[in-house]
């Protein structure tokens, strides 16, 4: 029931976040919060736990009341600082925001507030605008924001006005998000879903800055990212001729006009990861070994014939070459980056490094391994060769993997040219320090491999063969380790394309 302004009593409706108890100590000290007022519209209310600042509407309407409860729930369960979560790189910032909205709305409903009041009249126009632009990713993210609120149907109406076929798919996404939240609530309890306990007891948070409940948000956000960017997960729908020359799988699919980019079959196969499947990487510390040994072939520079230049070194071509390429031009080798998993399950010798550098002159070779968090700066990635020189000292393996994904990102950043190959020598047994194999971390590696066209091989010997094939411009195929295939199948319901 809505109270008419004339019936409103003089009330102090500013929320009282000072009362909120958290387990991470963020609101422990007694102290005043700054409360500012705003209109009851999407985007205006906000909460900053660490700064003790809340902006909320304070009029005596049910909508205002539920918005206040929403902001209070943020003060109760949301992380004070979202940056460590963004830095983990499991999900995008936008997905984290939207998944958190869904979790908070779910929790305030469980607290007894009617989320049907949560609509400000902008949902329809938002749906229309998003659909008109054909922005599927934003459509998915916004769906999570309004999931379970009174504004959801208006949003879908707006979507359907421009993209009729998107409606059912987005509604199904809403249902899947709610189903996942219900599952967590039922199986693990609200205490777990809304927990602000620091995950120091587990092996995923050495810095003590990640709160337990937000792992669920992160898992849903990662799920939303997959649904929002379906290109990477539509492999089995592709025709063989769509495949890229290397046998990669990152090619979009063509769909009839108006069809959502995410097929029903693809959506049905996707599932959110669980908190128990979450992991963390160690801090990456790079050490450049002394590169004392010169590798014959240097940077792989060679001369090729050219029809322009100063010194005609190939005069015979005046007769034999229709293009009369009598001059020389220097070109550098393909180079590339070879990243080697140097954990206990792999082995590496100086001879291996030499073979790689001979197969791809000028390439960068690095290996990585650790079984600790290495927050003290202890090296866990060693550059063994670069710029035509290599080390004679191969570091002793430190046992575990620990930094697979950070090392992979580092390797991709070392590319000098866009078409330089990045080869990752791994058996696919990626894991954080002191952790078992986690699907979340494996998915993070798979996505990066797909996005950056990294080629995987399971041994140095195979990597050398691959480099030789690349030098001969032969078509090469991706060889996914069995661990990655299993993870991808379990998480997305699809096979990784070779």
């Amino acid at each position: 029931m809505v109270t008419a302004p004339r019936d409103m009593q003089q009330k102090d409706l500013r929320p009282l976040p000072e009362l909120i108890r958290r387990q991470d100590g963020a609101n422990d000290e007694p102290g005043k919060w700054r409360i500012d007022t705003c209109v009851a519209e999407r985007g205006a209310p906000r909460t900053a736990v660490l700064h003790r600042h809340m902006v909320a509407p304070v009029q005596d309407y049910e909508l205002d009341r539920v918005i206040r409860a929403h902001e209070m729930m943020h003060a109760k369960v949301s992380p004070g600082d979202r940056q460590p979560w963004i830095d983990r790189g499991i999900a995008t910032g936008r997905a984290l925001v939207c998944a958190e909205e869904a979790r908070v709305n779910f929790l305030i409903e469980k607290a007894g507030f009617d989320t049907n009041f949560l609509k400000d009249g902008t949902e329809l126009s938002a749906g229309e605008r998003i659909a008109e632009r054909g922005d599927w990713a934003e459509a998915v993210y916004f769906m999570a924001c309004v999931s379970g609120t009174g504004g959801m149907n208006r949003y879908l109406t707006g979507i359907r006005r421009h993209k009729r076929a998107w409606g059912p798919r987005l509604r199904q996404i809403h249902q899947l998000v709610q189903k996942e939240l219900q599952r967590i609530w039922r199986e693990e309890g609200g205490d777990e879903l809304g927990s602000t306990r620091i995950a120091t007891d587990s092996s995923v948070d050495p810095a003590g800055e990640l709160i337990t409940g937000f792992f669920h948000t992160e898992a849903i956000a990662e799920y939303l990212d997959r649904l929002a960017d379906p290109q990477n997960s539509e492999d089995e729908d592709k025709e063989p001729e769509d495949s890229d020359p290397r046998g990669g799988d990152v090619v979009g699919t063509t769909r009839p006009s108006g069809e959502p980019p995410l097929s029903k079959r693809s959506l049905d196969g996707q599932r959110p990861l669980r908190r128990s499947e979450a992991g963390s990487w160690a801090q990456l510390n790079v050490k450049h070994q002394n590169l004392t040994r010169h590798v014959p072939g240097g940077l792989g520079k060679r001369r090729i014939a050219s029809n322009s230049g100063r010194n005609p070194r190939r005069t015979t071509r005046m007769i034999t070459d229709p293009h009369k390429r009598i001059f020389d031009r220097k070109i550098s080798g393909d180079g590339g980056v070879v990243l080697i998993d140097h954990s206990g399950s792999m082995d590496l010798s100086e001879k291996d490094v030499l073979e790689i550098m001979e197969a791809a002159p000028g390439c960068t070779v690095a290996c990585y391994c650790t079984h600790k968090w290495d927050r003290n700066g202890r090296p866990n990635l060693w550059v063994l060769g670069a710029g035509g020189r290599m080390t004679t000292t191969i570091p002793r393996s430190r046992g575990g993997n620990g930094v697979d994904h950070p090392a992979l990102v580092w390797a991709i950043e070392q590319k000098q040219r866009r078409n330089e190959p990045v080869i990752w020598v791994t058996d696919g047994g990626v894991m954080g320090p002191g952790q078992s194999y986690k699907h979340q971390l494996a998915m993070q590696c798979i996505k990066t491999v797909q996005r950056s066209d990294v080629l995987i091989r399971n041994s140095v010997k195979n990597a050398v063969e691959l480099l030789a094939d690349l030098a001969r411009r032969k078509q090469v195929k991706q060889r996914w380790p069995s661990n990655f295939r299993i993870t991808y199948w379990r998480v997305t319901g699809k096979r990784l394309a070779a």
Binding site: L16, I20, R21, N27, P30, K110, A111
Partner: protein, 263 residues
């Protein structure tokens, strides 16, 4: 709720009364309490170290006066002075009172504390008038400088060993206090939350709220309000109790509780 405001100028027994039994009396030999809030731990440490001039300041209703009267070594007794603009030196040092034989000298709170070597607790020091303030400075001066001439016999009196003084105030910044006072009381502790033993009388579910709301500025909810709320809700339910105690803030209070206790 324990009585946090004992009678003025009433000597308290060192033995805890029924109402103050929850409070731990500090003698300087107790082990550190692991869960004691920092401000109270500071106060304990200061008393244990033998500091005899302390200012306690901060929001009202956190038990500063009660702590002054009871915590530490109060075997020789505690005397309380509540400063107002209208009070005179009569309350501090004493004065002549009429009796059946004419006039008779009556000791003030500070003089009683001097003679007993006890504790003088001066409340609301910022509200004292100029005369009283000057006298209080003299009476709380260092032992070597403190002197007072008794008008009845001209005898010079000095504080006995063991005399201590604690001043309390609700001001938020020590800068607002006169320099002379700050000089005599170099140790000032801001008390920003109630002592855990004072919270122990509340139902378990309200203790943390009472602790957190004690220092919420102008949105503060005092410990006394929480005590009354807890009593009222037993007989009249949460909503009615909140309406009666928190008035126009009752809806915000109840909604905050609802969010905080959702699972």
């Amino acid at each position: 709720m324990p009585d946090l405001t004992p009678d003025t100028s009433k000597q308290l027994s060192a033995r805890p009364s029924r109402s103050n039994r929850n409070w731990m009396l500090v003698t300087g030999t107790e082990p550190r309490q692991p869960n004691l809030p920092q401000c109270w731990q500071d106060f304990n440490d200061v008393l244990s170290a033998g500091i005899d001039r302390v200012i306690l300041y901060g929001p009202p209703g956190t038990g500063k006066t009660y702590a002054g009267l009871n915590l530490g070594d109060t075997d020789s007794g505690s005397w309380r002075l509540v400063c107002t603009e209208d009070m005179t030196n009569f309350d501090v040092t004493g004065g002549y009172m009429p009796d059946k034989d004419g006039f008779k000298w009556s000791d003030g709170a500070a003089l009683k504390a001097w003679r007993a070597g006890g504790r003088l607790v001066v409340d609301e020091i910022d509200k004292a008038g100029g005369d009283v303030f000057a006298t209080l400075l003299a009476m709380t001066d260092t032992v070597d400088s403190a002197r007072w001439e008794n008008p009845t016999n001209g005898k010079i009196e000095v504080p006995r060993d063991g005399f201590t003084a604690i001043m309390t105030t609700n001001i938020e910044s020590m800068e607002e206090l006169p320099a002379a006072l700050k000089d005599r009381f170099p140790c000032a502790i801001r008390i920003n939350e109630p002592h855990p033993n004072a919270l122990a009388g509340l139902p378990r579910d309200l203790r943390e709220y009472a602790r957190k709301m004690a220092d919420a500025g102008n949105r503060r909810i005092s410990l006394r309000q929480f005590y009354d709320y807890s009593k009222l809700r037993e007989s009249h339910g949460d909503e009615r109790a909140a309406n009666l105690i928190f008035g126009d803030r009752s809806e915000s209070f109840l909604d905050a509780m609802k969010v905080d206790t959702a699972w």
